[in-house]
């Protein structure tokens, strides 16, 4: 996972991504129903879309953020901080549980709750 902000930082991230994943076409913005948005917290789209991912064989292998995540947690307060914490927790749990939240039991339950 790589985080950053500003034009310079964004350029550095892109450069690093291209070095590691030379054949990639660029990070894809996380969609509303992406697994990353529901591994622990249900992330709101305005925050989840700040995450970009690369996938290989269905798995997320690269996550980048437009806004600093960890430094934001330390620096910011209120809702922006809370949402950064939530994004970070979801990323960690994705790393530890993989596709767990894509299991049918979870999907059915969450779909029912959304109704």
């Amino acid at each position: 996972m790589v985080e950053g902000s500003g034009v310079q930082r964004a350029g550095a991230i892109r450069q690093l991504r291209e070095e590691v994943f030379s054949h990639s076409k660029g990070a894809i913005q996380v969609k509303k129903d992406d697994l990353l948005t529901r591994t622990f917290y249900l992330l709101r789209p305005e925050y989840s879309k700040a995450l970009g991912t690369l996938r290989q064989a269905g798995r997320v292998v690269w996550i980048e953020t437009q806004q600093p995540l960890l430094s934001g947690i330390a620096r910011l307060g209120g809702a922006p901080r809370e949402h950064r914490i939530r994004s970070a927790v979801n990323i960690v749990l994705y790393a530890l549980t993989g596709s767990y939240k894509d299991d049918l039991t979870h999907r059915k339950y969450l779909r029912r709750r959304k109704r």
Partner: protein, 685 residues
């Protein structure tokens, strides 16, 4: 002489009288021609009359031809030695020359559609026999079958046409109030933990009032269900259908009994036992992870990618002391459906996997759930305990009894060294053992504890167990004492990359008692016949003199007469006289195997009984020949008269009829000419 013969003779007499009048005044030549014409016509009529009633005298010198229709689809038919017994018994009784015809009625339901597996169907055999009756000319026909013989509607005509030739020797003579298991229809192959229908047909020999009979169903000696069959008033049959499911894979013994005291006079048809092949397409695994970590993720990925695994996965993502400052609607968490999993559906899983989960920390996890797991393991489910980062206490509650190695939760240590695999129950292939033992020494975070007496170590690092195994009741428990096994896949050794998957695969096979990894110390046929000799082979020679002990489902022991001597590897044992499910063990050794002993099941018969029945029938003037007839050889006579169709084909031929018609027309023409001439007053010469 029949009415037809009388009618024809009278007709001829009338014709002669009429012609005497007609021929008055005619010349000799005309009279002669007319007479010859009539004679030829009369002569041609004679075989028609005679043919109907032709009697053939057949001298019988001791021998007669008997046709035996042998029901090859019956249980006795499946056993060639039984047929040989029958043959020798009948031939020894000098019943004459025997022609054996086999038929099969594997056309279940009883007379329904299907394919006869052996030869023709009974109907086919009878039709064939009827067509060849004249040619074959059997003196008697026996139909030997073990079914309470009720021909289908369309066969009644065939049987009627067989007239008195056919004698049904039913091997299920009325015994005065008997109820038996006539037939059991089931799929030969089942899928483990999937319901399969079993239909039992009961038969009774008397049409008394409506009655009910209780049936008990056992799978591998374990009572799985009971059911009740009801005979309606006036009905011989009652069907019982139950849905059964086997938990194990491999050959399974299905045993059905009529409840004691309800089966009537004969006991041998109150019991039925056969083999079912149970397959498993997917292993249904329930995994509970107490706290996710890399080890749990790695195991999940390994399980998910296996095609033979159906994983129901639950991770505890919050502890009881967590403070999550979010509304429930902001969380993607679902309630842990404990009741649904551990009460309602626990019996639907082949394997329960407990990983890094300390149930004591969660008040919602009631002790009853662990007791349910214990019960299921005892009846055949697998349990895989996999350590993690959380304290791991297995020294109390039901898990203490289940765990091969009892840990106290605190002794979590780093052990570095090479692996040592213990060949044994897991049946490591040599290549797998070699790869494991040749892994470079590495550190493992290991929980230590006390190995239970009946547990075994399958893999260890130095002298510290890494994987332990234990059998509990009919089920099995495996324990992985480190959460670092995933590191094998990241070794520099290319050969170690698949080790994790291979070891996991072995564990899964062992836990589900898959025949592929079962290490049989004793090999014996799964089904044997009561009282017959059984050959048993041992993997290792007997270490000391011993005796065979057959222990039945209800604990009754039958001890064989054989003395088994030290060093023997192939043993010949006598099966118990009573049918049922047995555990065959060798006294003072670990050798044990499960065997089904079949009696005279699904057979309303016994050879001894049938011989007696046949003898009684003969003695009491049993008539296997035509209606009202009696074969002389029964009384010591040496010949007899049989009435048969002569089989003369000519008079049935169209040319024969055409000749007769031409003669008739010729006669009519001549007669007309006579009458015409007479009217004209001219004289015929």
């Amino acid at each position: 002489m029949s009415w037809l013969s009388v009618a024809l003779v009278l007709l001829l007499l009338w014709a002669v009288v009429l012609h005497q009048k007609l021929l008055v005044g005619l010349g000799f030549k005309v009279r002669l021609i007319h007479f010859l014409l009539l004679s030829i016509m009369g002569g041609l009529l004679w075989p028609v009359v005679r043919g109907w009633e032709r009697k053939v005298e057949v001298p019988v010198e001791e021998h007669q031809l008997g046709v035996i229709l042998w029901d090859a689809s019956s249980s006795m038919g499946k056993n060639p030695s039984i047929k040989e017994e029958w043959k020798s018994a009948l031939e020894a009784n000098a019943h004459g020359q025997l022609e054996w015809m086999e038929f099969s009625e594997n056309l279940l339901p009883p007379w329904g559609e299907g394919t006869a597996s052996q030869g023709t169907s009974l109907q086919g055999a009878l039709v064939d026999l009827e067509d060849n009756l004249a040619k074959l000319a059997p003196d008697w026909i026996w139909l030997i079958s073990d079914m309470g013989f009720q021909p289908p509607r369309e066969m009644t005509e065939v049987l009627t046409d067989m007239k008195g030739y056919l004698t049904r020797l039913e091997v299920t003579p009325s015994t005065g109030g008997d109820i038996g298991i006539e037939d059991v229809v089931r799929d030969p192959v089942w899928y483990a933990r999937t319901s399969s229908p079993v239909r039992v047909r009961l038969r009774r020999d008397q049409l008394e009032e409506a009655t009910e009979v209780d049936l008990l169903f056992h799978l591998n000696g374990e009572l799985v269900t009971t059911a009740r069959g009801r005979f309606e008033k006036g009905s011989h049959q009652a069907d019982v259908v139950v849905d059964l499911q086997a938990k194990e894979v491999g050959p399974i013994l299905l045993e059905i009994n009529i409840a004691e005291g309800q089966g009537g006079a004969r006991l041998e048809n109150d019991h039925w036992l056969d083999e079912i092949e149970s397959l498993r397409d997917r292993i249904r695994i329930l995994r509970v992870v107490g706290r996710p970590n890399w080890s749990s993720k790695y195991l999940r990925d390994a399980l998910v990618k296996r095609e033979d695994v159906d994983l129901v996965d639950f991770h505890i993502l919050r502890s009881m002391s967590d403070m999550v400052m979010a509304a429930p609607n902001d969380l993607a968490l679902i309630p842990f459906p404990v009741e649904e999993l551990f009460v309602e559906n626990i019996d639907s899983f082949d394997l329960v996997l407990w990983q890094n989960f300390n149930q004591d920390e969660y008040p919602f996890f009631r002790p009853a759930y662990l007791n349910n797991i214990r019960r299921e393991v005892k009846s055949g489910t697998g349990l895989l305990l996999w350590s993690g980062t959380l304290p791991w206490r297995l020294d109390r509650g039901p898990l203490r009894e289940l765990a091969p190695l009892v840990t106290t939760g605190k002794d979590h240590q780093e052990v570095k060294g090479s692996l040592l695999s213990s060949l044994g129950e897991l049946g490591w292939p040599d290549a797998l053992s070699f790869s494991l033992e040749n892994l470079p020494p590495r550190s493992y975070r290991v929980f230590k504890g006390k190995l239970q007496d009946d547990a075994r170590v399958a893999l260890s690092v130095k002298d510290t167990p890494l994987i332990t195994l234990k059998k509990f009741g009919k089920g099995r428990v495996a324990q992985v004492l480190s959460d670092s096994l995933w590191s094998w896949s990241f070794s520099d050794e290319a050969s170690s990359h698949d080790l994790y998957d291979e070891v996991l695969g072995r564990l899964l096979l062992w836990l589900q008692q898959h025949p592929d990894v079962e290490n049989k110390v004793m090999e014996a046929p799964l089904l044997v016949r009561s009282g017959k000799q059984v050959t048993v082979r041992l993997r290792q020679p007997l270490g000391k003199n011993s005796r065979a002990l057959w222990t039945s489902r209800n604990g009754k022991t039958f001890s064989g007469k054989e003395d088994l001597l030290q060093g023997e590897e192939s043993l010949k044992l006598e099966a118990p006289p009573e049918p049922g499910f047995y555990r065959l063990g060798l006294e003072g050794t670990d050798f044990e195997v499960e065997i089904g002993v079949r009696g005279l099941q699904d057979e309303f018969w016994s050879l001894a009984r049938c011989e007696k029945t046949a003898a009684e029938l003969i003695q009491s003037g049993w008539r296997p020949l035509k209606k009202g007839g009696r074969p002389d050889w029964l009384d010591g006579g040496r010949s007899q008269v049989l009435e048969r169709d002569s089989g003369w084909p000519l008079y049935r031929h169209p040319i024969y009829a055409a000749i007769w018609l031409i003669l008739l027309i010729g006669h009519w023409v001549i007669t007309n000419r006579i009458l015409l001439r007479r009217e004209k007053g001219t004289r015929l010469r």
